[in-house]
Amino acid sequence: MNVLAQADPILDPNIEPEIWWFALSPLLVLVGGALTLMLIGALTPKWPKGLYALASAMVAGAAGTLAIFNWDDISDNGPTTLVAGALAFDTFAMWSTVTICAAVILVSMLTDEFIRNTPNDGPEVYSLYLVAATGGIVMASANDLIVLFLGLETLSLALYVLAASNRRSDASAESGLKYFILGGFASSLFLYGIALVYGATGSTNIGEMVNAVAVRLDGDNDALALAGIALLIVGLGFKVAAAPFHIWVPDVYQGAPSPVTAFMASAGKVAAFGAIIRVLVSGLPAYRDDWQPIIWVLALLSLVVGSFLAVVQTNVKRMLAYSSVSHAGFLLVGVEAAAHFAGEAYPGMGISSVQLYLLFYSVLVIGSFGVVAVVVGDDDASLDRFKGLAKRKPLVAIAFTIFLLAQAGVPFTTGFIAKFGVIQAAVEVDSYAIAIIAMVTAVVAAFLYLRIMVSMWLHDEDEKAPAVRVPFAAGLAIGAAALFSVVFGIFPSWFIDWSDAITLVR
């Protein structure tokens, strides 16, 4: 945004910001990949089966690899900002990039056979995944509120289309419209919040906002700033699916095609939590006494609403949707812990624990919805469809059991490491109350996961149930996710060490 502000009109009216192309390469690869896939897909006859998914996974893999190179660069030379302060170039951004790219790879594998032999089979869905991933990465690495808004809209618009992408299903169209109306409402609240914060601080750039608030002592624009912060929190609360802004979540997760739901729950959450940390912890540390209690309340409500309402559902996708609300609660516990150190040199454990949680949760939730996609396909995901799954498809049932146990936070799974990290961060800052509430609601939520497991392992097979066929790519994705969740649950030290290196640009 300060492209114009930094230009010196006397010396050279056309001075351009210096652009470091390699640092932007993950984004460029994703956008380029999406456009190329779309263009070539439109110009050539239908590709042989699986090639669209392969292309999308390879583009995402390339972007993720470039992000890892950039991570090394940041570790050596320290974080900085790109494109005249519009984007942050730090390990936080790169971790989000890698997580979102991994989500695209896994979701592409799930989508492949899911849309084969339907009118949707083509490059469009995969292009939308790549575009949405770009938007998500921009959100998580934005250093300017308007850039963050653009990333949010890029992600959201692609997700609205993806949610409504199953044209044979009324439920999919309905979920797309509901998501669009409520998402648009949240986006406009968020934008109005940006406008008010801009009025109070005189800039939309996060670094300039911090400086402007630091030099201003009288606090005469506090009313404007506080109203803006409230609107920003409401808008972001919608996007992270925190209670009480979670109303859209069960309907949209249920109606959208299962691979798309997996993508929303993983990449969407990574992006939205990236944004919440950028805006609040990084951008508005001066007001942390004002917004921190709100985050506390949102965390509490999400934990309670998510776990208790999940238990009474009968549709597996709705159960997982409510469980994602309770996971949002856990993540907000981490954000609340990070808030204690907002604006200080020592970042605390909150931010790394949130990012570690997001990575592990993304893999788990993609695996879970992958199993749902394989077992019920386009049909209604009622719990009855999972009865006796262990007898029909033991490996799928084992994988689903791993995902559910890990989401419940059972030791020797990544879910435990994730939850432990967040609780540890909360205890570090003496937020004992919310840590205890989180653990108690985790026990309630465990009942939900046990219910699905009992259905799979102890109930008899339904004679009329359609046969379950596991496609190769989807099986590979589910197997890899299950293996990841167990292996790195037992040996988590690599990921913990890497996540400790996560810092925000200042």
Partner: protein, 111 residues
């Protein structure tokens, strides 16, 4: 900012007034979204809210003497246009299936 006569008249209007107008517009949009049942009208309310935010940006940019708020408006206009494309596409696909559907009719997903 005020160089010509007509701009003097505009500058004579306090920036606060614009903020009040834009907050009223935003409120009307939010209220309309919550009470109206026609998806198309709800969608128009979202556009109204986005444009209220735009007016806020311009008013604040003028009172701060800062160009960045005005450039932000252009980005938002592009986003609103993209939103129209996506939103109308989804609406058409629903209304083709169920002509005349209101938000209350779209209640297949619940639990």
């Amino acid at each position: 900012m005020a160089q010509t006569g007509s701009c003097d008249v505009i500058a004579a209007v306090e920036p606060t007034w614009y903020l009040i107008v834009s907050s009223l517009l935003f409120g009307i949009g939010a209220f309309g979204l919550l009470v109206r049942r026609n998806p198309l009208v709800m969608f128009m309310c979202i556009e109204l809210m986005l444009n209220a935010a735009n007016l806020t940006f311009v008013a604040l940019a003028t009172s701060l003497g800062d160009i960045n708020g005005q450039t932000a408006v252009f980005f938002v206009m592009v986003v609103a246009a993209a939103e129209v494309v996506v939103g109308l596409g989804i609406l058409v696909s629903i209304l083709r299936r169920r002509p005349g559907a209101t938000a209350d009719d779209l209640a297949e997903l619940k639990g």
